[in-house]
């Protein structure tokens, strides 16, 4: 499935059945991001399909 990574403004093609598996494959720390599925916030347990629109939003700010 196609994943949008907001921090780097890029799309990646990844196969994963859950958000947890997706983040593990992308080596992204879950404490630093929010994940939306079809524009709704979801937890790491959420199941994914190829039809879903997935975005990964970095929550880091400040200096």
């Amino acid at each position: 499935m196609k994943i949008y990574i907001e921090k780097t403004d890029e799309y990646k093609e990844v196969e994963a059945s859950t958000v947890k598996e997706l983040l593990e494959k992308l080596k992204i720390n879950p404490t630093t991001i929010l994940v939306t599925k079809n524009n709704e916030l979801v937890t790491e347990e959420e199941k994914l399909t190829n039809k879903d629109e997935i975005k990964i939003l970095s929550v880091i700010s400040g200096g």
């Binding site: 709704e40 347990e45 939003l57 880091i60 700010s61 200096g63």
Partner: protein, 307 residues
């Protein structure tokens, strides 16, 4: 996995308690926690005039919204949004546009002060010649202006959007740099003793993680992306932040544990460093409080900005 309270679909799993919450229950949880922090630590009192440090980022936007909501109907309390325009092209200009619109929508008075007007140069211009860590000079200049402008506004408190991540990073940074004295100035309300040269800083988001604040901002529809300052990755804080996030991922609850254990020793630290606070001088150039003859801001103005 369902919401612990109502069995709806969850939007977040709290790392500290392993509890999952749906959108409505999470918003209630978040707001209750902010109110409890304000109440437990007496962050807002009768007749307060609160300057709220705002940047247009998620933390200060959430803070602004919630303070306005919490004091609704209180005619004795005044709030003003106070923003500092450092002059960071393509970052601060955008966030301040958002902040202006947000304040207009929520009918909050906004005051913006800039490095360009106050120090004659923007941060971008300063960094053309200054080769140190950007956050070092920027942090000093920003804190100086926030304190100075809060006093000019006759504020009784300066509210900041510091969250649990910020505070746990500060505690660890002070420890790693053998600067534990600085930690005596931390906590939900800052300061060791009352000193009219310092406006007490209050941190209503103290017990909420960066991810929790972002979740609230997203669910309330304030913003759907969270921009990082372009200078932030070069800071020492950036390294400590990454280290703590890595630990948090492997050992959930690490950041909460740092805060909880710090709060246990905080009264001892404040008491221990009371004498040092008494020795705080006033800068011979600008009269702002400092530990040396000339404050760090005036040193930067003379040695970096005017150089």
């Amino acid at each position: 996995m369902v919401c612990k309270n109502c069995r709806e679909k969850p939007v977040i799993k709290l790392t500290n308690s392993n509890i999952s919450l749906c959108k409505n229950c999470y918003i209630k949880y978040f707001e209750k926690k902010v109110k409890k922090t304000i109440s437990d630590y007496k962050l807002i009192e009768k007749n307060d005039n609160i300057a709220i440090a705002c940047s247009g980022g998620k933390d200060s936007t959430v803070l602004l919204y919630l303070i306005k909501k919490i004091i609704k109907g209180r005619k004795d309390i005044k709030i003003t949004a106070l923003a500092i325009d450092e002059g960071i092209h393509n970052y601060r200009d955008k966030s301040l546009e958002f902040l202006k619109a947000f304040c207009k929508k929520h009918e909050i008075e906004l005051k913006i002060f800039s490095y360009k007007e106050e120090f004659s140069k923007t941060l971008d211009e300063i960094l053309k010649t200054y080769k140190g860590i950007p956050c070092s000079i920027c942090g000093v200049l920003r804190r100086y202006l926030l304190n100075k402008k809060s006093k000019e506004l006759e504020a009784t408190k300066l509210a900041t959007g510091h969250n649990l991540d910020d505070e746990s990073q500060s505690i660890i940074m002070n420890m790693f740099k053998n600067n534990i004295k600085m930690s005596a100035r931390l906590g939900p309300i800052t300061g060791i003793i009352k000193d009219e040269r310092f406006i007490p800083r209050i941190k209503p988001l103290y017990f909420l993680t960066e991810k929790e604040v972002a979740t609230y901002a997203f669910l309330k529809g304030f913003m759907d992306k969270f921009n990082e300052c372009p200078n932030s990755p070069y800071s020492y804080r950036g390294y400590v932040r990454d280290m703590l996030n890595s630990l948090e991922s492997k050992y959930p609850g690490t950041k909460h544990a740092i805060i909880t254990s710090f709060l246990e020793i905080m009264p001892l630290l404040k008491n221990h460093y009371k004498k040092d606070q008494d020795a705080i001088k006033s800068c011979s150039l600008c009269n702002e409080p400092c530990s040396q003859e000339i404050c760090k801001t005036c040193q930067y103005i003379e040695n970096v900005i005017k150089a």
